[in-house]
Symmetry: C2
Subunit: 390 residues, 2 copies
């Protein structure tokens, strides 16, 4: 029996619009074929969000064909038929004997396919930054007449400006992220195991908000005293104690899209050091968001933040954020001094103001925002405060 | 202020034993230095489990030095000092301005370090399978006198045979995985949203079992009717209905180590088709486990399964499993026809018998087991049945 097409997060016209942008870039780069193996880019161009990425999955975009061809392990073909907007004839499974095979893998099937359809001798875009040297060599050796062009970030730059459809999905994700923060404020207490607090927070991220469930989990960081100087650890096996501070970073997920947020929690009265840093960062956050408008640069926004906190006696070494969308971070611009990327309406960023000022001390606050026609709109909306808990 | 060393999952002697095995392999390959950027291998050799892997993190193992040097972004140095067994002098942060920088990244710092310590002109092992072509070219161009040796799977093969310490951590992870399955049997009911069921299951995976919390989440797959022919999708936005079948795959996590399990759930009476497949698979599972003993091959175990279900009128196209440990799948052997890898005591496998026999129908059962001195010991222990729920 055949599997049915599942409910689609976006209409077909939305995927064709995205593909048109990719094909326009392909024409500009003078390539006939683009080989996409980055899983976030595959989600963007098809709607496929299944997680079987430890084996090759490849979307072949041809400038001569409306829909791309999705080549993945045979086991995952039903998921692709169900989730992707593609017609079933454009989903091709490669044999299971290529899994765990020391001599061949799914890329051999992709190369075979390119020869088969007559695309082996033309301009060929590869995402070299996400291909191993071994795989790149395989393409070069087996397609010696192809003119290989590095298209590592081509799709990521197209993803940077969202459609209104995408913004509405990111709003749903942001509401879930907010719900996670508000749940954290309910369950973080002296005497509670960190793992038990995270259990409740994660459950909220799955249940979602406003009748829209979370569709996946993404990274969650729970950095508690004496580890508030760390940024990317999970929860520990400790019990939360009076006087503890917790820096929480999490994201809501809808159909692959992530909205992220960071907030700081204090069990008992926050220290003066923490409050002073919070106040400086909050001022910096407001000034940064007020700097956002089409035509301003990433550097303008970052420097507005840096200047504000510097004037209040603090500094932050790391960038102030990055574009966010499918699977969290997009690898394009940075909200950082010297990044002259111009802001455009419907770009979305994680304004990430986590500031780890000492090896054993840091404070976090962040918002996911979009650039509007006139300024910035924060998609996340939990109170911008230190959550003071019992 | 400095951060304290956190509680370690393993004693220092355990890490030195692992490093000795790696150095022995390095001597055999005639290399002075091994550059490890695979994050599971870094966890194995240091205890570091923080998740900041979208930027380069590199462990430099020198045959001339007891401890490796861990080079990662400056922001993550406190986490490495806290989590890794390393002395703090062996953790080096590279500047934050290498993040999101189009011209340089953390690998430039690694190359600088190798020149600095006089290791740039000798035998150099790289994990080419997990390095991009661009990064590989950078090593070749900037260290033209180094003799580069591909060590892509060297550490993975060493990880294959676990110590008793590791087995005890995997037992804890297996108990958590079992708890997840038993929680699923409590919360999957007609009328419940899939996301709400997953919320409860995930919460259980964080709370853990026997007083040992889960230390992270790993993949969770919830493939329900009409999608039981898929293997790697998350939950859907549907409400569970009477007559639905759910194929659940999940893992418990302790200190990076995963134990995985799959079970099938039926809301209402299972169909005859499902029961026949279950019975064949259960027979195959028992025969496969009975085939496990030191000296038998991966192929022996797989073929014992294949023969059993073939004799009962079924077949399975995909392999029967793979080694499991840190971050789930290890990329070495396969439980598959023709894989002549010999089993040794304390190898651990995910005997993955998921069988997607039609595009819209499949059944799953699996166990995480270890090879003992005489046979197999299943680490997971949830009942081997179709869970029939209301």
């Amino acid at each position: 029996m055949t599997i049915s097409k599942g409910p689609q997060a976006f209409p077909r016209a939305e995927y064709l619009r995205r593909l048109a942008a990719v094909k326009s870039e392909m024409a500009r780069r003078d390539i006939d074929t683009l080989i996409i193996n980055n899983s976030s880019n595959i989600t963007y161009l098809t709607g496929y969000t299944a997680k079987s990425g430890y084996v090759p999955q490849v979307l072949v975009v041809s400038i001569h064909k409306e829909e791309p061809t999705f080549i993945l392990r045979k086991m995952d073909v039903p998921a692709a038929i169900h989730q992707a907007f593609l017609e079933r004839g454009n989903v091709i499974g490669y044999p299971e004997n290529l899994i765990g095979n020391p001599d061949m893998d799914g890329f051999d099937s992709v190369i075979y396919f390119l020869h088969e359809v007559g695309l082996a001798n033309r301009g060929l875009g590869l995402e070299l930054a996400s291909l191993s040297a071994q795989t790149t060599d395989k393409f070069k050796a087996r397609m010696p007449k192809a003119r290989i062009v590095d298209c590592s970030k081509s799709v990521a730059w197209i993803r940077f400006v969202k459609s209104d459809f995408e913004i509405s999905v990111m709003r749903e994700a942001a509401a879930i992220a907010d719900a996670g923060i508000m749940r954290a404020a309910e369950v973080i207490h002296s005497g509670v195991r960190e793992a038990d607090a995270m259990a409740e927070i994660a459950a909220t991220l799955a249940r979602g908000a406003n009748g829209k469930p979370g569709t996946d989990f993404t990274s969650m960081f729970f950095c508690s005293s004496p580890r508030t100087g760390t940024c990317h650890i999970r929860w520990s096996e400790d019990i939360i104690r009076n006087g503890s501070q917790i820096n929480l970073e999490l994201g809501g997920v809808r159909h692959g899209y992530v909205a992220a947020i960071m907030r700081t929690f204090s069990v008992g009265r926050p220290s003066d050091r923490l409050r002073r840093l919070h106040e400086a960062e909050l001022s910096g956050l407001e000034v940064a968001l007020n700097t956002v408008r089409p035509g301003a640069t990433c550097s303008d926004v970052a420097n507005a933040f840096y200047r504000t906190i510097n004037s209040l006696g603090f500094k932050k070494e790391s960038r102030c954020g990055y574009p966010i969308g499918i699977d969290w971070t997009e690898p394009t611009a940075s909200l950082n001094d010297g990044d002259t990327t111009e802001l455009k309406p419907n770009m979305t960023f994680h304004l990430m103001l986590g500031n780890w000022t000492e090896e054993d001390f840091g404070y976090v606050i962040s918002e996911t925002f979009r650039v509007t026609e006139a300024g910035a709109e924060a998609l996340t909306s939990a109170p911008r405060k230190i959550f003071e808990l019992g």
